[in-house]
């Protein structure tokens, strides 16, 4: 049995009187990759943020690599976790290379910058890039921070939403490689074709978990209608 990396039990979260997560239970083991699907507002981002410990007010049990990320020292909780935001930002006008320097692993950054076709853009300010190039730069910085995949928890929030086909495939390959190397990966996505390639699909609706299983079982007609609308993609 592979090591348990993420365990959520009866996780709930409310904001402004609205229940964003409602008793969600989920576990991910080392080497397991799951797609997280749901319509806009279903709670995907809230679930990923709760799993990353970014919602201290969330209730229920959250354990990642043996620690509760809401109360554990942030540096300890972050040691074996990556969290990619849906809309990454930067307060100052950093260049791509300056953003990459935050990864603190120059060789890994150079590798990921190459895979995301960012090498030629290294001296360009982020503000001058397209939305997709910016997202790729933030992903490259994040991916270059991962030292040891085995047992790591990767929480990726719509990482391919703004990317072109080549960069999307880079993310697809990275997720697959990490899961094979023993990382636990949870990816929120609206890309139905990509979600179908995962061995496991977790679906949310109005903050509740409505499906959790292999794509053939999880992709019911109701789920497809609820998330993507008819006809099925």
């Amino acid at each position: 049995m592979a090591d348990l990396v993420l365990q959520l039990s009866r996780v709930a979260h409310e904001r402004n009187g609205r229940r964003l997560l409602d008793g969600v239970g989920l576990s991910l083991c080392a080497g397991e990759a799951a797609a997280l699907v749901g319509a806009n507002g279903a709670g995907k981002t809230t679930l990923l943020r709760a799993a990353a410990g970014l919602l201290p007010a969330a209730t229920g049990e959250i354990t990642a690599n043996g620690l509760d990320p809401r109360t554990a020292p942030p540096a300890a909780a972050a040691r074996r976790r990556l969290y990619a935001e849906q809309h990454p930002s930067c307060a100052w006008d950093q260049t791509v290379a300056e953003l990459g320097a935050l990864a603190d692993r120059p060789a890994a950054w150079a590798d990921w910058a190459g895979r995301f076709a960012l090498t030629a853009l290294a001296e360009r300010p982020l503000a001058s890039l397209s939305g997709g190039e910016r997202q790729a730069a933030h992903l490259a910085r994040l991916f270059a921070s991962l030292e040891e995949p085995y047992g790591a928890l990767l929480l990726l929030d719509e990482p391919t939403a703004a990317l072109d086909r080549a960069r999307r495939e880079t993310v697809h390959a990275a997720v697959q490689a990490w899961a094979q190397a023993g990382a636990a990966v949870l990816v929120a996505t609206h890309d139905a074709a990509w979600a179908r390639t995962f061995p496991r699909v977790v679906a949310l609706e109005e903050g509740r978990l409505i499906a959790d299983g292999p794509p053939a079982a999880a992709f019911t007609a109701e789920l497809v209608r609820a998330v993507w609308g008819a006809p099925a993609p």
């Binding site: 990353a52 410990g53 970014l54 972050a78 935001e85 930002s89 307060a91 100052w92 006008d93």
Partner: protein, 314 residues
């Protein structure tokens, strides 16, 4: 084009030359005096301007990084005003105690700047940049009015407080008066330099910083306390001073880019350069009618402030 670490070396060299010029410049004319006597007399003032300017530059860079707001500046957001109000409360309420206990005025300034910083965070955080700035401007106006009220109620401290309000305390710099604030500037400055890495992560947003292992609560606590300490120490040396903390980080970022490992020390160097230049110009530009460093800084800084505001919001 980014200059990198060379900017720190160049900035230090320029500052050294300026300091030598400031030591040689005075109402008695140019020169160090016989046996360096005049330079020795001017030394506390020059040292005070350097230390206060560096503390302001570092404090401004930290506040801008902490609030992710290019318009944050302890001078504009009332942290300086709070320091002066703290000193005014002590000078107005217990002047005998203030002058008998050498650490009491820096402590009162620190209490005032920390109080305003706390209010600023409480009222201005988690909103658009304009909210923070407007909250700070309101707190600054309130603190300035409080200081003036106390100055009117306490005639024996009136002139001192009015001079402080106009940033005109460098003229009375003496070894006894500057030594304690200098120590506090050095302490706050050295501690602020250690915040470079978490401030870099915070530039990516609160979620990204926290997910990368940054302890946001600890960072906020340390940044706010140390910025308040730097502002209090600088206030004890120069009085109220706007624009240095705003401009120094902008000039530093323009030279070396946004990484705080370079921005923080360079903002300190640029702040020291700005304040020393303003003070020296104020002493020497119009012989017989000296201008306070704050007045010269406002003359130079206000147009630059407008330029920065237009650059970021236009």
């Amino acid at each position: 084009m980014r200059l990198g670490r060379g900017a720190l070396v160049g900035g230090t060299a320029v500052l050294g030359l300026l300091a030598a010029g400031a030591l040689a410049c005075g109402t008695a004319g140019w020169g160090f005096g016989e046996g360096g006597a005049l330079a020795l007399l001017r030394f506390p003032r020059v040292l005070a301007a350097l230390a206060a300017g560096a503390a302001l530059g570092l404090g401004g860079a930290t506040q801008q990084g902490l609030f992710r707001n290019p318009l944050a500046d302890p001078g504009l957001t009332g942290v300086f005003g709070g320091a002066l109000l703290g000193m005014a409360l002590l000078l107005g309420g217990a002047p005998g105690f203030a002058w008998a206990h050498a650490w009491s005025l820096p402590a009162a300034a620190f209490a005032g700047s920390l109080g305003v910083s706390g209010l600023l965070v409480l009222l201005g955080r988690n909103g658009p940049p304009a909210r923070l700035l407007l909250t700070g401007l309101g707190l600054n106006a309130f603190a300035a009015a409080g200081t003036l009220l106390i100055a009117n109620l306490a005639p024996e401290s009136r002139e001192l407080l009015l001079n402080g309000s106009f940033g005109d305390w460098l003229g009375m710099a003496s070894p006894e008066l500057v030594v304690r604030p200098l120590l506090l500037c050095a302490l706050a400055g050295a501690a602020l330099l250690t915040l470079a890495r978490p401030l870099d992560l915070l530039a990516l947003g609160e979620d990204a910083a926290q997910a990368a292992g940054c302890d946001l609560r600890r960072l906020r606590r340390r940044a706010i306390v140390l910025t308040a300490l730097a502002a209090a120490a600088a206030t004890c040396l120069v009085g109220q001073m706007a624009f240095v903390g705003l401009l120094a980080p902008h000039l530093a970022r323009a030279l070396v880019g946004p990484r705080h490992g370079l921005v923080l020390p360079l903002a300190g160097l640029v702040g020291a350069t700005l304040l020393l230049t303003a003070d020296t110009l104020g002493r020497a530009a119009l012989p017989g009618t000296p201008l306070s460093a704050a007045a010269v800084m406002a003359l130079l800084g206000a147009p630059l402030f407008v330029w920065i505001a237009r650059r970021h919001h236009g």
